[in-house]
Symmetry: C2
Subunit: 413 residues, 2 copies
Amino acid sequence: MTTAVSPLAPPRFPQMPEVPGVRLATAAAGIHYPGRTDVLLVLLDKGTGIAGVFTRSKCPSAPVDWCRTRLKAGRARALVVNSGNANAFTGKSGREATKLTAEITAEVAECRRGEVFLASTGVIGEPLDAGKFTPVMDELVQTAAPGQWQAAAQAIMTTDTFPKGAAAVVRLDDVPVTICGIAKGAGMIAPDMATMLAFVFTDAPIATPVLQDLLTRGVTDTFNAVTVDGDTSTSDTLLAFATGAAAAHGVAKITRAGDSRLAPFRKAFDSVLANLAEQVARDGEGARKLVEVIVEGAASKRAARRIALSIANSPLVKTAIAGEDANWGRVVMAVGKAGERADRDRLSIWFGGIRVARKGERDPDYDEDAVSAIMKRPEIAIRVDLGLGKGRDRILTCDLTKDYIAINADYRS
Amino acid sequence: MTTAVSPLAPPRFPQMPEVPGVRLATAAAGIHYPGRTDVLLVLLDKGTGIAGVFTRSKCPSAPVDWCRTRLKAGRARALVVNSGNANAFTGKSGREATKLTAEITAEVAECRRGEVFLASTGVIGEPLDAGKFTPVMDELVQTAAPGQWQAAAQAIMTTDTFPKGAAAVVRLDDVPVTICGIAKGAGMIAPDMATMLAFVFTDAPIATPVLQDLLTRGVTDTFNAVTVDGDTSTSDTLLAFATGAAAAHGVAKITRAGDSRLAPFRKAFDSVLANLAEQVARDGEGARKLVEVIVEGAASKRAARRIALSIANSPLVKTAIAGEDANWGRVVMAVGKAGERADRDRLSIWFGGIRVARKGERDPDYDEDAVSAIMKRPEIAIRVDLGLGKGRDRILTCDLTKDYIAINADYRS
């Protein structure tokens, strides 16, 4: 199994400011991995609101069920994340493990059980021994401190090759407020799959329904526009927390999604989501190339998305990119199989800025050498114009390499 | 690029009888491959009926368009298949190439242009020079002979590692009639993708609408129940031809799908389709294991199919099989992402005959060593019982190995 850092990784973990009202701590509870941290505790000041989006899997993990139920009250005081065990497909014992974890945490965090949120990533189908959190919980609460983003991002990694963080500062009522997020990518871990998890924190005073609106709308073109292999985890979880601490500096609470002050905040919030989502694609298993698929001229945005996902998830397109082959025939194939309206004779395709096909035929001006040079780059853009309407969408993905197979097939051999 | 014969190949090409009214010939026209046959001509006696099913791609190849249009008349006198060039995404020149090929063939076969059927497989987006058929056409017509199945199956291969044929003999009105079919698999060919093609021939006197009904119903659980990578060719074509020659031996023509004589014929016809479809899965690119996915207890057959395809197309399930890992967590994932009704707590999963999970948890009696032994076999059955209803379906696929990547990514490097 390869352990080298992805060649598409950012050069370093970003500088990330503290978020007032948020303290973080990590510990090694020995859940699955030897010699590394595997538990993250985040303590949140009173009054923190929470919003969330989750996997669409019909077989979600126990922590996903837990969070969905507790989200309705909209209040959070603690977040516990463990790596090494996904607590998925663990039946009744899984539900008991979530309850026990929340109880242990609520006691030391001095809050209600329903104010504790949970996420787990790692092995599927193995019982999670929640008792392992007990010995480290006091230490976690005592060492919790603001700004421990990198340690937090590291503790939740599974087969990620680098920790993922992103931050933005934006003015609300002329007061700087902060948005910080961490994520872990769609990876695998012996003997089972892992998960995409992300957590975003802000001190902006934002009412819970507005925070949920921000998140729901924000994921459409960020986390929901990233695919590695088209497989959907049982555990995907994205939670957003708003402590409201900036209210103490005179920021009036935002209670309506239509509040005009929200526009710059939404932009910054979306940029953090987009940055994290891109890092997930950059750490796709075995990835050597970041691929941006842009579909234009579709009948609708929805049609553009289906076609872009068909291209981005096609093993044939992904292996062609891995082979540095501008194989537009496979792009045509992926457009054709998406099931959306397409007219072969209006289709144009670009790799990088170079048009390789137009009006249903190879572009006569297409320079093979120029395209070959583009295909050697670590970041490749595939653009398709269907010539039908105004629908446009963009999906990020990565190539499909032998390392993907090695990571996912070879670990037992 | 690997050229070894798939380890899942049948030991030899089957013995296949002649089909009265069908003569075959192959030639090397130098379309793409050096030193091998790449054109198949099949001559069909007067009165031959034809039925067909095609790719669902919205960007079909020129030969697919050609066949769809000519199918309405329901009469065939010749079939021309070439490998090496798919004549797909070739625009106006592609349409002209189909017309010219049909004209060249009609002249030597002494039939109408509309009675010539065409299929092409190989490179996409390269103009097909139909003029290359002219020099070999006389030779093809002169050498056409019954029973040349193996040569025919070889001429239409692209990255297939073995030729695919299947036959059945069944009694109609107490007269033996023959069903013979050849196919080529879902493979790739530098620099572009190839196609699934299959052609089935019988001397049974079957009216065209009945033949179309046989074919349309027959593919549901055969060719439409096989997947290698979930990618859909622009060119997939399955044609069935009925010469009716057995009428001379006293078989009365079958003109209604409800004819009671049809039942044993349908069974034999379906067995030929199933046999060919299984061979396609056995020759999936890089395949080392044949995988049978059985879904039971679903809300409906349609739901069972979607779930089975979700499992069969999941890169994570396919790489686990390649790694000989009974990774039922990934099967749960694939069930969950299919979008059909599923209740985690009712789900049971078997590898081979061994139940590994039941009622939403790992089966406590599950013997890891016994399952490991099963996973080492070349043929693996995954069975899922959803515990919801009576919907059942079965999909054949293969594992996802490094050789798949090598075949599809490395050929230019």
